[in-house]
């Protein structure tokens, strides 16, 4: 066997010593910060406070211990950073579920207040955003059952809102994209506190870019969701000769098709196809025959069409907000046309034609299983 050269041995030993020293160097800070030495934030509220901001923070030191802090600063980061002075703990944002903005912030333009959440390294792009009916501080300090409302419950609110099909969910990523995409404007769910404790979603705020423009009621929100093919499920109550029928919407498909419209403003066709089941009928003695089913279908179609039209009339025609993303559709499908429309799109939007075609099908389970009803 060849003997290894002495130089190689010396080099190896030198490398080991250097490596050991390199590892020893950071040992003074080894182990990192303990979990309880961090401020584990899972809810942030931002309110306009004069020229600065007031942030409200919800955190937990352990499973049973909920905490509430407020801080002021000229910017969101400065305010959050000052929490270290009051708590002695470094804020940890990675588990932050949601951010609630006060209405004043939205009126001022959310881009000022959002920049921290977009740019800072440890915030999550998937954090849910809400708009408070008044102040975010009220929402975050709301109590329920002799304790603070859990932020996980507030986050659940946006999920459950989607289950009813009457509220939108907006993560930071979605909000920023909707605001920055050509021919598109974002929306946010609006929450308010309840007298007995807790919060509820009351409407949907729509924006022009990052600035709040108005609010639409929950029914019109459903129209928006249906048109954008984002409705997963929900309940609808329709009335007619059959009484009042509660329907559970299942498969709802929405599609917006663009037609150039010649020299005039672009034309759009909103095609909706929905399936539903009859969950309840007010007149329990009524026999649901074919005529009744058709009447229910007509009533549902009319209701959905009305909701879409109302949402469009309010947001687009009245306020020039393109929450339906019609401009984005033109941008993607007809870029050369978009080049001519881009500069004045908000004015043109109100003049666009919107042809809404709704086709609903109610499942006639009794007939499918047992045969058509007699009479």
């Amino acid at each position: 066997m060849k003997a290894k050269p002495l130089c190689g041995k010396i080099l190896r030993r030198a490398a080991c010593i250097l490596l050991g020293a390199a590892l020893l160097l950071p040992l003074s800070g080894c182990g990192g910060r303990e979990l309880f030495e961090r401020l584990l934030i899972h809810g942030i509220g931002v309110d306009k406070d004069g020229d600065g901001v007031l942030v409200t923070v919800r955190s937990s030191a352990s499973e049973a211990q909920e905490e509430l802090f407020t801080a002021r600063g000229s910017t969101v980061l400065e305010a959050l950073g000052s929490l270290t002075l009051t708590t002695g703990r470094k804020p940890f944002y990675a588990h932050n579920y949601l951010v609630v903005f006060g209405k004043a912030c939205a009126a001022d333009g959310l881009d000022r207040y959002l920049d921290f959440f977009v740019r800072y390294y440890s915030t999550r792009p998937s954090v849910e955003l809400f708009l408070a009916e008044d102040r975010a501080q009220e929402v975050l300090s709301s109590e329920k059952e002799a304790g603070y409302l859990k932020m996980s419950e507030l986050q659940q609110l946006s999920e459950s809102g989607r289950e009813t099909g009457e509220s939108v969910g907006a993560a930071l990523l979605d909000f920023v994209n909707a605001a920055r995409r050509p021919g598109s404007d974002p929306v946010l769910p609006v929450v308010r506190t309840l007298e007995g404790g807790g919060v509820e979603i009351v409407s949907t705020a729509y924006f022009k870019g990052f600035t709040l423009q108005g609010e639409m009621p929950l029914k019109e929100t459903r129209g928006l969701l249906v048109a954008q093919d984002e409705l997963r499920t929900g309940e609808a109550v329709v009335r007619g000769d059959f009484g009042a029928a509660t329907l559970t919407l299942s498969a709802v498909d929405g599609e917006i098709a663009y037609r150039p419209g010649g020299d005039g403003p672009p034309q759009f066709t909103v095609s909706i196809r929905a399936e539903a089941d009859v969950s309840a009928v007010s007149d329990t003695q009524a026999v649901l025959n074919e005529a009744a089913y058709r009447a229910i279908e007509d009533a549902l179609e009319a209701q959905l069409k009305e909701e879409i039209e109302a949402a469009f009339a309010r947001t687009a025609r009245r306020d020039g907000c393109d929450v339906f993303g019609l401009g984005n559709t033109v941008f993607r499908e007809d870029p050369s046309r978009w080049r001519t429309l881009e500069a004045n799109w908000r004015e043109t939007l109100g003049q666009c034609g919107l042809d809404i075609q709704v086709a609903c099908e109610i499942h006639r389970l009794e007939q499918e299983i047992f045969g058509p009803a007699l009479g």
Binding site: M1, L23, P26, L27, C30, G31, G32, R33, E34, L35, F36, R38, L40, H42, S60, A61, S62, E63, A64, F92, A94, H95, S122, S152
Partner: protein, 483 residues
């Protein structure tokens, strides 16, 4: 060099008596064979006195050897004695070694050779199931300390003339005999020659166990390129794949070369159960290996540096526990790790009568009481316990795992998940650079060969497929073919 037998019985006897002065086990029986002086030498405890008496002494005492000294030994050898193993030997050094190996030596006046008889009768243990390699379905016999018995166990299972046992010896003081076992025509001649060469170059004074020789057969590295087993069925399976086994006198462990990294996860039971179950168990072991190596390091890394990876409820639980305990999670886990290693070693070395005491002290006192007292946290204790248990699923890798865990723990504590990743890459590089007799240790995973990986790494093919084409170790990807 002691020289050769002189034929002058007084001188020859004096040589042995002088060598074995103060050795109370040295036996010398003078005889008169029809006027011819002879002497029978043996070491008490190594020989069977009954066989000596019946096969050697009785026939000798009745013999009348011829007057001609040249014909004397031939007469005794061919017409008087009836033992199966007997031969002539002239060299005094060799005679000394044979004497100490349980042979009896007959010196006859006027004869320049001595007769040597294989009459070993030392106590040996019967074949028992190896405690370190317990199998559910495999054979229940294991190797013993006698390499002759071990050779017989292999011979019984492989009835082929291609099965070779080459004799060798190591240890300048111990003269430990060993045997190279391989299948001619299956094993690579280069590998066999390489093993021979390395054993010849072994400069040990004493070789008291197979582990002494392992270091001469492999390159330095974290993972060994030499396997060890106490099971004859495993040896037979391995030599059928072209490997060379080294049987060492005095130890029930047999060395196997070349030994690949994936073999650490293979057991005999894998080949005796249904293929789908064998594949499942194989993957379970891979998972257990990773859990055992990485869990403490990842736990510390995530808790200290990357808590965003934890689900919130778990994070709050750990935070609550950390608040109660005095030590940072890194030190706590390190402490528990060393405590566990001490307990494990104590359990191994403690007398059987104290075994239950060690369990009670370890489990109840240290485990439960320490957590209740708030000295250590339950998540840290659970992590170390899980690590320990997972390590036993891959018992062959226990030694490198013990070191790896510690290294990853330190790296994770200092540099977080990335420190663990860098450590993992370093281990991968070390594995990639190491070979065993020209076969890359990571073969057939890297260099990759899909057929071989599917055959017996990622899954275990049914025997109908396995038996169709033999996969010899020298055919693994990455082995340089000499033209």
């Amino acid at each position: 060099m002691a020289g050769t037998v002189t034929g002058d019985i007084r001188r020859d006897k004096a040589f042995f008596e002088q060598r074995f002065t103060n050795a109370m086990d040295f036996m010398l029986r003078d005889m008169d064979l029809g006027g011819v002086k002879a002497a029978l030498l043996a070491l008490d405890g190594l020989v069977s006195k009954q066989i000596i008496t019946l096969s050697i002494l009785n026939p000798l005492l009745a013999a009348r050897p011829p007057k001609d000294p040249r014909a004397r030994l031939s007469y005794i050898e061919e017409q008087v004695l009836g033992s199966m193993e007997q031969k002539r030997e002239r060299s005094l050094d060799t005679l000394l070694t044979l004497l100490m190996s349980g042979f009896a030596i007959l010196l006859v006046e006027g004869c320049g050779d001595a007769l040597v008889f294989g009459v070993q009768g030392f106590e040996t243990r019967g074949p028992e199931e190896p405690q370190n390699e317990v199998m559910q379905r495999g054979a229940k016999d294991g190797f013993t300390e006698s390499y002759q018995n071990n050779i017989a166990m292999i011979r019984r299972r492989m009835k082929t003339t291609a099965l070779k046992f080459e004799k060798a010896q190591v240890g300048s003081e111990s003269h430990t005999p060993l045997a190279l076992c391989y299948l001619e025509g299956v094993a690579s001649p280069e590998i066999v020659a390489g093993v021979r060469e390395k054993l010849r170059a072994c400069d040990l004074e004493t070789a008291l166990g197979a582990g002494y020789l392992a270091g001469y057969l492999e390159r330095r590295g974290l993972f060994s390129g030499v396997g060890q087993t106490e099971r004859p069925d495993v040896v037979c399976g391995k030599i059928a794949e072209g490997r060379v086994a080294v049987l060492v006198e005095g130890t029930p462990s047999v060395l196997l070369v070349p030994f690949l990294f994936v073999e650490n996860f293979q057991t005999m039971d894998d080949y005796l159960t249904r293929p789908f179950y064998a594949a499942f168990i194989r993957w379970l072991k891979y998972f257990a290996f990773f859990v055992s190596a990485f869990l403490p390091g990842l736990y510390v890394a995530i808790a200290a540096h990357h808590p965003e990876l934890l689900p919130e409820s778990l994070m709050l639980k750990i935070a609550g526990e950390e608040m109660r305990t005095p030590f940072p999670v890194f030190l706590e886990t390190l402490l528990l790790y060393f405590l566990y290693e001490i307990l494990r070693e104590a359990g191994l070395r403690a007398p059987k009568s104290l075994g239950s005491t060690v369990s009670i002290v370890g489990g109840l006192v240290i485990g439960e009481t320490a957590v209740e007292a708030g000295v250590v946290s339950a998540p840290s204790l659970m992590t170390v316990a899980l690590t320990a248990v997972a390590g036993y699923a891959v018992s062959r890798l226990y030694e490198p795992l013990s070191l790896l865990r510690l290294v990853f723990l330190i790296l994770g504590g200092i540099f977080g998940v990335w420190g663990v990743t860098i450590g993992l890459t370093l281990v991968l590089l070390d594995l990639s650079a190491t070979g065993s007799f020209g076969v890359p240790l990571l073969s057939p995973v890297s260099p990759f060969r899909a057929r071989l990986v599917w055959r017996d790494v990622a899954a275990r093919e049914p025997w109908k497929q396995l038996s169709k084409r033999r996969a010899r170790v020298q055919d693994m990807p990455g082995v340089e073919k000499k033209s």
